[in-house]
């Protein structure tokens, strides 16, 4: 076993354990942390495949942005997770059975041959990012643009489904704040001076 293989099995093992943990642990924060761990290990696997750009992006985007958002959501929302997990044990046997059958079938099929790569993989270009950028904006410009449109739809969808204009919301109106005059805020009250202390 070469050194590379040892590293591969190490990361792959951690990845599988982390992924399983993500689904099974009770505490949602731990689940999110497990997910982060699995992202990290799969990023490492990508590095092993000489796809360093994808590996770095996975860490930057998913761990850096998406998972932080996830953690925020988990902490902000008062989710009753026990309720959500209620069916887990009940459906587990059926799920395991189906998963096992599918896995066996897939192993049987995929063993049967034609996936053995006959030609060695082309050597990865020295600069991954540059190579990706080059084909992304030339050969794959059409799918790339469609993906961009999908993101626009996601933005519109998120706004449509969540934006609520609340009439009672208190907003800052900067121009009003700047234009405010002393008379608007300060009221001078003339009062008679009170005699202090004598009669009381």
């Amino acid at each position: 076993m070469t050194f590379e293989q040892i590293i591969f099995y190490l990361f792959a093992g951690v990845l599988v354990i982390a992924a399983a943990g993500m689904v099974t642990v009770r505490n949602p924060i731990y689940a999110a942390l497990c997910l982060i761990l699995s992202f990290f290990t799969s990023a490492a696997l990508w590095l092993l495949l000489e796809a360093e750009f994808l590996g770095i992006v996975l860490v930057l985007v998913y761990v850096g942005a998406v998972m932080v958002l996830f953690l925020f959501v988990i902490m902000m929302l008062d989710l009753n997770l026990d309720l959500l997990k209620e069916g887990f044990a009940r459906y587990l046997p059926v799920g395991l059975l189906v998963a096992a059958v599918v896995a066996v079938e897939m192993i049987l099929v995929l063993q049967s041959g034609p996936f053995g790569a006959t030609q060695p993989a082309a050597p990865a270009p020295a600069n991954n990012t540059e190579a990706l950028g080059e084909i992304l904006y030339t050969d794959y410009v059409y799918p790339f643009e469609i993906a961009a449109v999908i993101l626009v739809v996601a933005i519109i969808a998120a706004i449509v489904l969540t934006l609520r204009r609340r009439p009672d919301a208190r907003k800052q109106d900067i121009s009003q704040q700047v234009q405010v005059r002393r008379e608007d805020r300060v009221r001078l009250v003339k009062m008679k001076a009170e005699r202090s202390g004598k009669e009381a």
Binding site: S112, G113, P114, T138, Y142, V149, V153, A157
Partner: protein
């Protein structure tokens, strides 16, 4: 070869959508009509652009990602015109239900763009992206009435199941890619032509996932569970859109993936389509009988109709494909009309969705009742409406492909299915109405629904024009 101009209709539509999005920001709440009109102009202008490119050789561009052929153009024109019609119908509903927001039209336009991308995709990757664009817009539209629990529930179901379907499809594509090393349709076809299909286990394995993913999008049995819930839960205007236009896109996906790329593997996928199709025709028609909610009834009837389309496509012949295309286009028109009548019967704060609501429609408004009768006749497949001819041509194609017993079964199930359509017609004509409020609609709605109803008969008597277009498109695309 990069030839960006080839995708002019899509680019035009995208630019117009972005423009509408920006203009809409500056419009006041009561000027939504402007957004609506702009959306209609966008659809019709795009249809015109596609039409001007009709005819001529099949050419590819954008690095073989995009194909322009007559099949794609016919599909796109029908998608655009159907969407324009649905917009006209939807207006009354949206105003009644206080959903009169510009986002409905914008999201629907994005969905249309996704469907156009699918219709002229020349690569499995592009098909998948187009499908996702369509699906994401549809999920949002289903949840559009966000204060309604049923709407959100339907959207959630649709989203989860749709995501699974996309996963299945993508997995199938990935195996196809792993086998052939190509993503473009011609490349996959070239790989399949050199294989012994029935003994190539990995290829069959990939086909299972691809066919399952496609059947899911069609809503064919056994992947039909989402259809009734989504149809019932979504706002009627969205159900009308969902129940008509995306069916054309689903057929586009079937033709591009199954017929064009793995067309030579027909013996393998035809068996799967046969099972899905027969089960859909069987279950759809039987369960529809037990439905009292009209939207659910239409949902099960859709399942049965989708079964017919799959059965038409399984023959793998030009006749079969053109029959399936004819069936899809005419069914989409019929379904849009049927839901339009439901929209018509609803009013502010009241949603017409049960069979009770169409009781005595003839007394309330004989013309609408007559149109609804034509639409239901067409769905049932009773001559001289177009549904009859569509079913006939599908059954002919199935018989020519040598499937005698499936053809007989389809006829029997159609006869059984006629029961629930005729029951609805009986309720319209012979029952007393529960309420006798007059039914009002605006002029454009009235004109369109009348044209829609009359087309059912006209196309039924003179089907050759549309059928000619369908088969010419298939021949031009070498299917």
């Amino acid at each position: 070869m990069v030839n960006i101009a080839i995708a002019t209709p899509e680019i035009f539509l995208l630019c117009t959508i972005c423009l509408i999005l920006l203009i809409d920001l500056f419009l006041k709440e009561d000027c939504r009509m402007v957004t609506y009109l702009l959306s209609q102009v966008a659809l019709l202008a795009t249809a015109l652009l596609v039409y001007s490119r009709l005819g001529g050789e099949k050419i590819t561009g954008l690095n073989d990602m995009y194909v322009r052929d007559d099949l794609g153009s016919v599909l796109k024109i029908s998608i655009l015109l159907l969407a324009a019609g649905v917009f006209v119908y939807a207006r009354k509903y949206l105003k009644d239900k206080n959903l009169w927001k510009s986002e409905f039209f914008l999201l629907a336009l994005f969905a249309v763009l996704g469907m156009m991308v699918m219709a002229s995709a020349n690569s499995l990757l592009v098909i998948y992206l187009g499908l996702e664009l369509l699906a994401l817009s549809m999920y949002t539209l289903v949840a559009f009435n966000r204060d309604d629990g049923r709407s959100s529930e339907a959207a959630m179901k649709y989203f989860v199941l749709g995501a699974i379907a996309s996963g299945l499809l993508l997995y199938g594509f990935s195996i196809l890619y792993g086998l052939s090393g190509r993503l473009d349709i011609a490349g996959v076809a070239a790989y399949v032509s050199g294989q012994q299909v029935m003994t190539n286990l990995p290829l069959l394995f990939a086909l299972v996932f691809v066919v399952a993913g496609i059947a899911f999008k069609f809503g064919a049995v056994p992947f039909h569970m989402w259809v009734p819930d989504v149809y019932q839960g979504a706002p009627t205007a969205v159900t009308m859109f969902l129940g008509s236009v995306p069916k054309v896109a689903a057929l586009a996906m079937l033709l591009r993936v199954l017929a064009e790329s793995v067309g030579l593997a027909n013996p393998a996928w035809a068996q799967m389509l046969l099972v899905f199709g027969l089960l859909s025709v069987f279950l759809g028609n039987l369960i529809a009988i037990a439905q009292f909610n009209l939207k659910r009834m239409f949902a099960y009837s859709t399942i049965a109709h989708m079964g017919f389309i799959l059965l038409g496509a399984l023959s793998g012949s030009t006749e079969g494909y053109s029959a399936a295309l004819f069936y899809t286009i005419t069914y989409a028109m019929t379904a849009a009309g049927g839901f339009a009548i439901l929209v018509l019967l609803g009013k502010e704060g009241f949603e017409a969705e049960t069979l009770d609501d169409i009781k005595g429609l003839n007394e309330r408004n004989p013309w609408y009742a007559f149109i609804m009768m034509l639409l239901l006749f067409s769905m049932a497949g009773i001559p001289p409406t177009v549904g009859f001819y569509a079913k006939l041509s599908i059954i002919q194609a199935v018989m020519q492909a040598g499937y005698l017993w499936p053809a007989v079964f389809m006829v029997v199930m159609s006869v059984i299915g006629a029961f629930y359509y005729l029951r609805a017609i009986k309720m319209m004509y012979f029952d007393k109405p529960d309420n006798s409020d007059p039914i009002n609609a605006e002029l454009d709605f009235n004109v369109l629904i009348s044209v829609n109803g009359v087309l059912m008969v006209v196309l039924g008597i003179f089907p050759s024009a549309l059928m000619g277009i369908c088969s010419a498109a298939m021949v031009a695309s070498h299917l």
